[in-house]
């Protein structure tokens, strides 16, 4: 019974979803990963991952906890550099440029590739200053008031906060804070937005607002989202990558990519038994 209901929910999510017209082939590539491996010291967190990520699509990374999907996401904008001992091997190319190449500046990478975190990490500043922070540190010229309004509008937050721009961002609700973080992120005009379980700490209503927002943003941005919530992946994403954690010969757990394809295909006709078990709730 519960299995069936999960499947039914998923299939209705797929019907609502946006992955109907997605083909197997990716023509406009933003990221190319080839045998990408992430290490923490001697420990290999992720075994070689190879996939491509398409422009103006929403790509979801799903899988059980500890499968390395967040770790993988954080290597896209070199946030793993900040963790002592973290190291990336293999290729991660952004429009054909190796993100870990010798001439590459991680700060430039992070400006192009924005990130939204699990917990809404607004700064202890006003709403206005939260949005204006990125442009200021990146020395972006222009009318800041207009930019703040534009970004808050795009993040579907303007109408709720336009009279309180000088108020502390801490006064906002969790869902509003997360939309503020999204507004803050697009204010530096990135091409890509990485989202690490952006709804993990939100209630269902706030979650559906964020999901709606993601679909609108996908017109302009390329989005990669990590989520625990399979229905969310089915509802919002065009393509889905399924990861899991498996023991290797030596008994060490590593995250690895099992299956990657259009979301519709992953959820309705998974090729791999492990994917099928996971999405039908039989996992673990």
């Amino acid at each position: 019974m519960p299995e069936q209901s999960i499947e039914m929910q998923l299939s209705s999510a797929l019907t609502d979803g946006r992955s109907q017209g997605i083909s197997d082939e990716i023509s406009n590539v933003v990221f190319t990963l080839d045998d990408l491996r992430v290490f923490y010291g001697d420990y290999q967190a992720i075994r070689g991952v190879s996939l491509t990520i398409a422009k103006n699509e929403i790509t979801a990374f799903i899988g059980p906890s500890g499968c390395g999907k967040s770790t993988l996401l954080r290597s896209f904008n070199r946030m793993n550099d900040l963790i002592p001992g973290a190291r990336v091997e293999g290729l991660l190319a952004y429009h054909g440029t190796d993100v870990y190449g010798p001439d590459v500046d991680p700060i430039e990478v992070r400006r192009r590739i924005g990130m939204v975190f699990q917990k809404p990490n607004v700064f202890p500043k006003s709403i206005y200053d939260n949005v204006a922070y990125g442009p200021r540190v990146n020395h972006i010229k222009g009318n800041m008031d207009d930019l703040v309004e534009e970004c808050l509008t795009k993040a579907a937050l303007w109408d709720e906060v336009k009279d309180d721009l000088k108020k502390s961002a801490y006064a906002l609700s969790g869902g509003q804070q997360q939309r503020l973080v999204i507004a803050r992120c697009i204010a530096v005009r990135p091409e890509v937005i990485l989202m690490d379980e952006p709804c993990a700490s939100l209630d269902p209503i706030a979650t559906s607002k964020i999901e709606e927002l993601m679909r609108q943003l996908a017109v302009e941005y390329t989005i990669v989202i990590v989520t625990h919530n399979m229905q969310q992946a089915a509802r919002v994403s065009d393509r889905t990558a399924f990861f899991t954690a498996e023991l290797d010969e030596a008994g060490v757990r590593h995250g690895r990519l099992i299956e990657y394809g259009p979301t519709r295909q992953i959820f309705s006709a998974p090729q791999d038994k492990r994917t099928e078990d996971y999405i039908s709730g039989r996992f673990g």
Partner: protein
């Protein structure tokens, strides 16, 4: 799933991720920050050099054995003698008195705070005890001389010297209670509660648990606290300068006045000694001995703290 086609360009084009601004300021700031952090290392170097150089000169005039094992300290006499033992024994006698006071009281306070006090009473008691650590030592010195000696000790020991080791030691002991209590309590707080639960499950009382489980488990931290407390006592200057007198005295009688290493440095250093004189250099020789003694104890204490942190993390 076919493997993706890979054509990686060096740089340029849409995917150019090269640095767009030079950020010289960033490097400059980093250099300033490193310099600020290096000040502490320079301080250590400064201390070592400023103490060692005159000490070497001192030992060209006074032999090391005469200094370390001589029993007469009369640096200001025309034919001065530089046997440091009277200063060392003075220091050790006063430190011993302080330790006898502070060890049981500090440890007792720590056990009470860690094992018995409720959260609420700990929040009041701990800062109150730590107020003691904020009292200037010159105030403790005044208190030792004016109150402890002249109002208490003279009544108990009628033939006590006005300047004596006992009152300096007693007050110094009270002064280092917070040092010992606070560090010991940290160590006890780090003992996993599972160990306590295990002891209670066997029917032990709180006292048995504290004495037989918590204190042994926190021992390296407690020893670190003791060592640091002793180091504080050896290095303390004002209390001994004011209350223990300035007479070098090779004696173990706490009712007499004694000069310590620190009070010699303070007394000789506050006079206007000419830079090249042997008296001036003797300040540094005694300072060197003091620095080495406290440095060794501090290192032991730091090591011990590190050990218990590693054990319970």
């Amino acid at each position: 799933m076919s493997r993706p086609q890979i054509a990686v360009s060096a740089a340029g084009g849409l995917g150019s991720l090269q640095q767009t601004r030079s950020r010289v300021g960033e490097k400059l700031i980093r250099a300033v920050l490193v310099a600020a952090a290096a000040v502490s290392i320079l301080t250590t170097f400064g201390i070592v050099i400023s103490v060692v150089v005159p000490t070497i000169e001192f030992f060209s005039e006074v032999s090391v054995t005469d200094f370390l094992f001589g029993t007469v300290w009369t640096p200001l006499f025309a034919d001065g003698q530089f046997g440091v033992l009277p200063l060392v024994t003075g220091t050790l006698v006063i430190t011993a008195i302080a330790v006898v006071v502070a060890l049981p009281l500090g440890l007792g306070a720590a056990v009470y705070l860690s094992e018995y006090a409720s959260d609420r009473s700990r929040r009041v008691l701990k800062p109150t005890l730590e107020l003691l650590a904020g009292i200037p030592t010159v105030v403790f010195g005044f208190f030792a001389l004016e109150f402890v000696t002249q109002m208490l000790l003279v009544r108990i020991f009628p033939d006590i010297d006005i300047f004596n080791a006992l009152s300096a030691g007693l007050v110094m002991g009270v002064m280092i209670i917070p040092t010992i209590a606070s560090l010991s309590e940290d160590a006890m707080a780090a003992v996993p509660s599972g160990l306590r639960d295990g002891s209670y499950a066997l029917g032990s009382t709180k006292r048995q648990t504290a004495m037989k489980v918590v204190i042994p488990a926190a021992l390296s931290g407690i020893v670190a606290a003791f060592v640091l407390g002793i180091s504080r006592a050896i290095g303390e200057t004002m209390i001994v300068t004011i209350a223990a007198g300035l007479e070098p005295n090779l004696s173990l009688n706490p009712l007499q006045g004694m000069q310590t290493m620190t009070s010699y440095i303070a007394a000789a250093g506050s006079g206007d000694l000419s830079t090249g004189s042997i008296e001036y250099k003797s300040i540094f020789a005694v300072g060197f001995l003091l620095f080495v003694m406290t440095f060794l104890m501090n290192m032991v204490s730091i090591r011990l703290v590190r050990r218990y942190r590693q054990a319970y993390q």
